[in-house]
Structure formats: C-alpha cells, structure tokens
Assembly symmetry: D2
Homo-oligomer: 92 residues x 4
C-alpha cells in the first residue's frame, strides 16, 4: 500500500467508525433492542463498507495502476478517471 499520509488517515477514520458501528450493534443486541432497530444499524454498516471499498479501490487505481492526474490528456488517464467514476457509482 502506498497511500499518502492524508489518504491513510481518512481510511483509518473510516475503519474506526466501522468498528464503532459494530460495537453499537453488539450493545443493541445485548440490550435486546427491537430487531428492526438492529437491522437499521447493520444497514448503515453495509453502507460504510461500500464507502470504504470504493475509497480503497480508488487509491489502488491511483497508486498501483494509473493516476489520472498524471498526464491527464492521455488515453489511459481518461480510462482510469472513468474507471474511478464507475467504481464510485457501483459502490454507492
């Protein structure tokens, strides 16, 4: 992984939030909260995982395949920019 320091701290913030969400689900189960409340918490974890996945894929494309910001008029930079766009759409 060759994340920049800024990307790394964003990713760490995301994954710590995910851990916090797992703990909230754990507490909700222990407190015997309603099923549908627990399910809504779990649905928000799923959204957070999709967001984390999209960000990891984007960083991977930028640092290990082609960074669309370098030589932005080349075909491959355009291809990488489109790919990042597609990944974001799919992971929403």
């Amino acid at each position: 992984m060759a994340h920049t320091i800024k990307e790394k701290s964003k990713l760490l913030a995301r994954v710590r939030r995910l851990k916090g969400q797992a703990e909230a689900v754990e507490r909700a189960l222990e407190a015997e909260l309603g099923c549908s409340d627990v399910l809504m918490l779990v649905a928000s974890m799923r959204g957070a995982i999709n967001g984390l996945t999209a960000e990891l894929m984007e960083d991977h494309i930028r640092h290990h395949v082609v960074n669309p910001d370098n030589d932005p008029d080349s075909d491959r930079a355009r291809g990488a920019a489109e790919l990042i766009e597609v990944v974001r759409t799919y992971m929403k």
Copy 2:
C-alpha cells in the same frame, strides 16, 4: 427483540467476529499491507454483514410476524417459510 437465548448468542458471536474483522482491517492499514489484501479483508466483512442481516431478518419473521414452525400447514406458515428462503438467497 424476542430472540431465544440460543439465537442471541449466535448473533452476538457474529457481531463480535465482525468487530474482530474491522480490527484486522485497521491493523492491515496501519501496517501498510497491500491494497488488494486489505480489499479482500473488507470483502469478507461484507459477506459477514450479509449473513448477519439474513439471520436478523429470519429471527424477525419468526418472532414478530409468523413462525413457520407453528401451524405449518397454514398458508401463512408456508408464505413465511418461502420468505425466509428468499431472504437467505438474496443475502448470500
């Protein structure tokens, strides 16, 4: 939530495993493991969340809507059993 004790401990085991997976992703990011390794860890979290969701929905159907094991020859028991089957298929 009106889970049986057995269901509750299964759900808690699932959510603690999820928390452990989030911690593994956190350590992988801190150790600057390869992107694709981190992405595979995150993919397994997504699978775990789908499994937890399916189990919560199934428990909700059994305890708050219709338990297909009670009066199993009734139309509504058959409908609930089919619904549980569909939920399992979709969350796989």
Copy 3:
C-alpha cells in the same frame, strides 16, 4: 401469486422497463459505445432489479404472510410493517 390487478400492472411495467434497459445495453454494445457508458446503463438495470425485488417481497409479505393493514394494532401487523420497511431500506 395473489397480486391485486393494480400491483400486477405495476410489476409488469417494471419488468418491461427492465427488458427495455437490456435492449439498450445490447444496442450500446453493438454500436461499440464507450465502456463506461455501457457500465452506467448496466448500473441502472441493477437499481431497477433492486426496486423490483423490494416490490415483489413487499407484495409477498402482504398477501402470503401478514398484511399490516389488516388489524393494524396487532403485534404481527407491526412486525410485518417493520419488515417491509427493512426490505425497502436494504433494496435501495
């Protein structure tokens, strides 16, 4: 299936739109449109399938398990209403 006539025509309209979307993807591939344009069309099909799934599940719950509009103050009507809410959230 015991859909009302109104539900059936809504479902048929959805599935015909899906068929139209598949034909648009086919034409886009034949015309050698850009990959990312084709991917966006396919992403919109995925959204349409999720919407169709949610509607089919909701109809199944109403007609084959418990209709939350009948006897709405009962526990099982409340459970069915919550379940429909959860299905809608998950399929969005």
Copy 4:
C-alpha cells in the same frame, strides 16, 4: 469501446441471456406464478448483472487503462491484475 471480437460476442451473449431472463419474469408474472418463484428468477437476473458488470470492468481495465498481459513484470501490470481480481471477488 475497444473490445476484441471475441469479447464483444461474449458480452452480447450475456446481455441477450439477460433479456431472455426479463422475458421469463414477465411471463411468470402474467401466468400468476408464485411470488417466491418469481423472486428466484429475479435473483438469477441480479447474479447475471453482476457477472456482466465484472466482465465490462475487466475489459475496460485491459483496453483503456492497463493490460496486465503487456509487460507483466511491471508494477502497473501487477496492480492491474490485482484490481481485476478484486473486481471479480466483489461482483460475485
């Protein structure tokens, strides 16, 4: 899109199968088949869409970003091969 002829005919076969699946869902609704049968048909369409998406993304990576088969020992070829692997895992 710069698909090879072979890729193009594979993609067209996939999308035509999808159209056929939409027609099967349409007939099942018209024939008032059971909800859960219709839902299983729709679930198989969702699987087919994920497969089509993965193949389109892979072709896009190969033809518009980096083809991992060209210069396979370079870092960027390795990065592209890993990305294709990740896309396949996520779209399963």
